[in-house]
């Protein structure tokens, strides 16, 4: 019996509990505990990817109860990919936060680990109610992290985030009730099977439930008109937290993708609600363009770039082209890492400019601005989707596989808006300087954190082919839900 699959949940949980018990506030020890747990999770994530690579589904029956009665964790290529992405993101984010931001409030490291526990659990679970539980874990930790360091702006934005997500949790519960009421099960695979046979009232209940799920997941993913909380909350959070939050929107996308692939890829309810998702995603993309052009701070602009990536990915998923799934996942990985790097960079810029912060106005020259500007240039190229970095590869992949004129136009315009915004931001922050520097020189550790994230873009470009092959394999597996269902339910399916 291999227990590795639950390790991405248990490692951060145990580390978090250890940190909770450490009451004497020994900061070095807290940092090392957190970092060690991140490294351990990373190692496990790599092992899990290896395990999932051959295409088998590993099912872990908690409490040794058979599905659909007990809860199962399911490892397939997609969940392995997402867990790996989380670990790859968390490590640099924590390094950055450990450069001082972690001391701005209590319990930072504990909350960080529980956040990871929630995210990993959400990616691994094969049970809808358990997904809700892990959503709660990641949300409750993220509330604490979003408010970490306090300050009026942060608390205001954080409060919006908390309240909206509480409403979201309520809706999630209603949706789960309806799902149980109509299909009589909460296991995802079982749900996928039972949903196909529903008629009459039960079909209506199911439709409402699934549409409510899209609303809940859309809130997490930050789709129009549910993303309004995001820019202020992300731009207001401390940099390491904002970087980690780059994966949070992707949790919502993952959930949409997972449920769709399992239950609504074919059959009587195929593509349920996807037309609405398509239009909302396109509006999201357009609004993100507007937002990024109007942003007055670098971090806010980056937050809109996050929203932009969400619009792009959800639109791609909603259009339902099977061959677009692989590039969409590639783009998901790329955008998560780059946006995280940009949040860290925005913080470095803000620290380098003293009181002016990362507001896009003339300010003092940045100490060590040469290196920062180079990093920013690379990050901007990548995020906007210009060659030769991963953004371009992802975008070309998407454009080639989604033959829709509107999608093309919006995606290209989004690139242009990003380009205009980033060139304005860069030239203002690094070139339009007044007088001597007032801020701090970026420390090596902070730069290392940025480099760890940013360096992955060239890596994903040079080895774009294996990476695309990999995401295509993930997509292939998703497109054959029968294997998943078979693995979970055994012969019963």
């Amino acid at each position: 019996m291999s227990h590795w699959i639950i390790a991405p949940v248990l490692i951060p949980a145990l580390a978090g509990l250890f940190l909770l018990m450490e009451v004497r506030e020994r900061h070095r020890m807290r940092r090392w505990t957190g970092l060690l747990a991140c490294v351990a999770s990373l190692v496990v994530a790599v092992l899990l990817v290896q395990q999932a690579w051959d295409g088998t589904h590993t099912v872990y029956k908690l409490g040794n109860w058979e599905a659909p009665f007990g809860i199962v964790l399911v490892l397939d290529r997609l969940s392995a990919l997402m867990v790996l992405l989380t670990s790859v993101l968390a490590f640099p984010a924590l390094i950055y936060a450990s450069c001082g931001d972690d001391r701005k409030g209590a319990n930072f490291h504990g909350l960080f680990q529980f956040q990871l526990m929630g995210i990993n659990g959400a990616f691994l679970t094969g049970d809808l109610f358990n997904l809700f539980v892990f959503f709660e874990v990641l949300l409750i930790a993220s509330y604490g992290l979003a408010l970490h360091g306090r300050g009026p702006e942060r608390v205001k934005a954080g409060l919006h985030y908390v309240v909206l997500n509480l409403v979201g949790s309520g809706l999630f519960l209603i949706a789960l009730g309806l799902i149980y009421g109509s299909t009589g099960t909460l296991n995802m695979a079982d749900f996928a099977v039972k949903a196909q046979a529903l008629t009459g009232t039960d079909a209506t209940l199911l439709r409402v439930a699934v549409l409510l799920l899209w609303v809940v997941f859309g809130l997490k993913a930050a789709l129009f008109p549910l993303y309004f909380w995001l820019p202020a909350a992300y731009a207001g959070a401390t940099a390491g937290v904002a970087a980690l939050f780059a994966i949070m929107t992707k949790v919502g996308i993952y959930a949409i993708l997972r449920v769709t692939a399992l239950a609504f890829a074919a059959g009587p309810f195929a593509g349920l609600g996807h037309e609405a998702l398509w239009w909302l995603a396109l509006i999201t993309l357009a609004m993100a363009c507007v937002g990024v052009l109007g942003a007055k701070r670098l971090a806010t602009a980056v937050a809109y770039l996050v929203v932009m990536s969400v619009g792009t990915i959800v639109a791609t998923l909603a259009v339902g082209q099977a061959e677009a799934l692989g590039p969409a996942l590639y783009y998901l990985v790329h955008s998560t890492l780059i946006c995280a790097a940009l949040f860290l960079l925005a913080d470095l810029v803000a620290r380098g400019r003293g009181d002016v912060g990362d507001r896009l106005v003339a300010g003092p020259a940045i100490l060590g601005g040469g290196r920062l500007s180079l990093l920013f240039f690379v990050a901007a190229i990548a995020v906007v989707g210009l060659p030769p970095l991963s953004g371009f590869v992802g975008k070309v992949g998407l454009l080639r596989t989604v033959p829709d004129p509107l999608y093309w136009a919006l995606l290209l315009i989004a690139g242009l808006c990003g380009l205009v915004a980033m060139s304005r931001a860069g030239s203002t922050l690094f070139w339009r300087t007044t007088g001597e520097s007032a801020g701090l020189r970026p420390s090596r550790r902070r730069l290392l954190a940025v480099l760890l994230l940013l360096g992955l873009s060239p890596v994903m470009t040079i080895w774009a082919e294996p990476m695309l092959q990999w995401t295509a394999a993930v997509a292939d597996q998703l497109l054959t839900p029968q294997a998943y269902i078979q693995a979970v339910l055994g012969g019963a399916a």
């Binding site: 248990l10 145990l14 509990l17 909770l20 018990m21 908690l62 409490g63 109860w65 009665f69 007990g70 409030g105 319990n107 930072f108 504990g110 529980f114 539980v133 709660e136 874990v137 930790a141 509330y143 604490g144 408010l147 306090r150 205001k156 919006h160 909206l164 409403v167 009730g177 309806l178 009421g181 009589g184 099960t185 039960d202 209506t204 209940l205 409402v208 609303v215 008109p225 309004f228 202020a232 507007v290 937002g291 109007g294 007055k296 210009l386 060659p387 030769p388 590869v393 454009l399 080639r400 290209l412 690139g415 242009l416 205009v420 060139s423 070139w431 339009r432 082919e465 695309l468 092959q469």
Partner: protein
Amino acid sequence: MNLAFVVMLPFLGACLPPLVERVSANRTLMAFAAALMPATALALLVSPAMQVFAGETLHSTLPWIPSLDLSLAFRLDGLALLFALLVLGIGLLVILYARYYLSAKEKAGRFYAYLLLFMGAMLGVVTSDNLLLLVVFWELTSLSSFLLIGFWGHQTGARKGARMAMTVTGMGGLALLAGVLLIGDVVGTFNLQTVLESGDVIRSNPWYPVILCLVLLGVFTKSAQFPFHFWLPHAMAAPTPVSAYLHSATMVKAGVFLLARLYPALAGTDLWFMLVSMAGMLTLLWAAFVALFQHDLKGLLAYSTISHLGLITLLFGLNREMAAVAAVFHIINHATFKASLFMAAGIIDHETGTRDMRRINGLWKYMPYTAVLAMVASAAMAGVPLLNGFLSKEMFFAETLGSHQLGALSWILPVGATLGGVFSVAYSARFIHDVFFNGEPVNLPKYPPHEPPRYMKVPVEILVALCVAVGVFPAITVAGLLAVAASATLGGTLPEYHLSIWHGFNLPLVMSFVATIGGVLAYTQRRRLFDVWARLPQLDAKLVFEGRVQQIGRWAAALTGRFQNGSLQSYVAWLVTLVAVIMLTQLAPLSGLDLSQYSLPMDGVAILCTAMLVAAALLTTVLHRHRMTSIMSLSVVGLMVSLLFVRFSAPDLALTQLSVEVVTMLLLMLAMYFLPVRTKVESSSIRVIRDILLAVICGAGVATLAFLVMTGETSTISQFFMDNSKPGGGGTNVVNVILVDFRGFDTFGEITVLGVAAMGIYALLKDLELRSAKYDSLGRPWARDAHPLILVTISRPLLPLALLIAVYIFLRGHNLPGGGFVAGLITSVALVLQYVASGVGWVHSRMPGDYHPVVALGVLLAGLTGVGSWAFGYPFLTSDFTYIYWPVVGKFELATAMLFDTGVFLTVVGATLLMLANLGKLSLLDDKREDA
């Protein structure tokens, strides 16, 4: 020799100058470091060039991303070779020139790095054998030129110029990407060879007009064709070596290069003729006209560049093979004379400190040698015989005469061409006469000017020598290169032509005469023309563009602000609206509810409870501005729900709900203590109506759904839990067995949530200082007696009693209503009561004050119970109940579930107290402050 390697050389070379800069500030050394790789690349191209001259086309392909059909495929044919020579050759000259142009305090290392990046990108564009790869390099030229134009980023002009160039060419690049992707779709590959051979397929495809427009958008933005020409003059904010490089041989030529490259694939249609030749003609005339009025030396050259690019574009647009040959020829000639002119302008700027032609006069006296070079070059620009510009211009005139595609209007072409020639001669004359003659210099920043350093002139000399050599001996200098380049452009065929200075007395020659005489006349009449120009409305494209961009920015911010108004209520309204839409669209089509299916009997108590529930809920909403009252009313809702649970035989839920209710109320009271007791009316009546509407729709929707669920006949997995609770989980209380066994993992997650919530609240409240009101809303002071005697007296004996009940509830939990969760809540309430009654100080002197470890211990206990099952080869959280695998005594079996439940218990107690005690501490802080 691998072509990919040659293309990579400048990129590798880009690292060298900054490295040298770290060691030494010697600019000469840096220039050598910069020149090393391009020189190597040029040397490496010699032997392939011989093969190309022999008629071969060299290919080299490395795989990169086969899934996207993107490979590192390079080709060297005549056209690529010609451009590679221009890029590398003029690049080397610019490196030499920049050595003397840049001052000692400028970061030459960085400059050279940018320049080499650009060079590599440009080399990539011209040698790509894969269209997608071409786009990659194309965008790289935009990016690196952004850095070059913005090299003096501290100047506002440089920043704006760089951004404008980036935006316009970036937009074109995206259009080109779309066009190329469409071509790839039509042809089935991005392989250039295949694309070039599929001209007919592309032209007959219904998407051809779209493809053509997208590609031309890329071309016109890059080559500054009307109406996208405006960025180029402002790119002159760059250091002059950059202008000399970008705007003579490279960046702007990338556009016309693409016209040449895709000529076999896209040209030959009427649409091509109309779009390309008309854009070219308009650009040629307009820019040549405007050039005359520029007072800035580089401004004049910039508009002249635009005009010559228009000329080349026009030639490609004519759909005539010979015109394409002329276009290629003019590309070569323009590159040589324009690069030298920019360099000369840079020298003048360098030596006089200004580029204003109204101040720079009579330089002939001060720098005669430079003057000769500049005059020869500008004569070439004007198309004076015996210089290279003359030859291609004659060919141009001849081609305009030969085109009949405009039917009866075909005369427009030669007339326009001649007119362009007139302006071109006029501004060339102005360049020569104003700068080198025309009296004495006026108020120069550097006076007297003198000749530049020896080696600064060398690049100009070389280029001017080329102008003359080509002009006088075209057949032995340029003919071979032109032939291979033109034949590559045309896809292998080459029309009959020969290069010579004298073609006899023919119409093109007459046009040249007219242009020259007209140009000189126009120049002599410049005062009048300037007057006319002065009366025209002046538009500074930079300001207009920047204004537009800022306007868009403001508009974007305003639009964003509309949706993101910072109002939580509005965000929630959006969320709820979505839900309402779902309810309406999904439930409206239902044919009505079958109320007869409701089978539960209704009695008076149930009806009363329900009525109270509804009334209390309404009251909570209506009274929400009176916080305390509203909370009281809310607690009634909670209590009624508990009663309803009892009514419907769910004692577990009722117990839990009851204790949760109590703890929640305490929490809310503590929190509300710091808020004003009443709030003002803030919502407008429209908003209230909106909210009522939303609430009614969603509420009715959820009620309908609940009814449907309860009256439905879905078979669920519940029966399994009923059946297996005792045999599989060892308990008769199914709810508890579900919580600690069947779905113990959920519970593990939920107690984590509880613990984390407590942690988060602690983090938020730590060291927080809030000032609470001393008076209530009616102005009465709060009671000063914090710890009333009666409460203290009653609460203390209550504690052991409550704990006993908690233990009882806990122990019976597995079989009867109860369990760790409820027991934990009861314990916390009893403890909280001690806080309330006797104060934080009293409690903390009797028990540990930090509840973090308690929470952690609880979750850990639950977690370790789960991990324990690993030892027996079972998954996480497997209960050890089964006799088969663990045939010990029954006592042990009970223990695992109990252990887990103990974890739940501890977490609940720890978390609740952590939250409440910290909220309570806030008011303590307040008391302390008052005492002090």
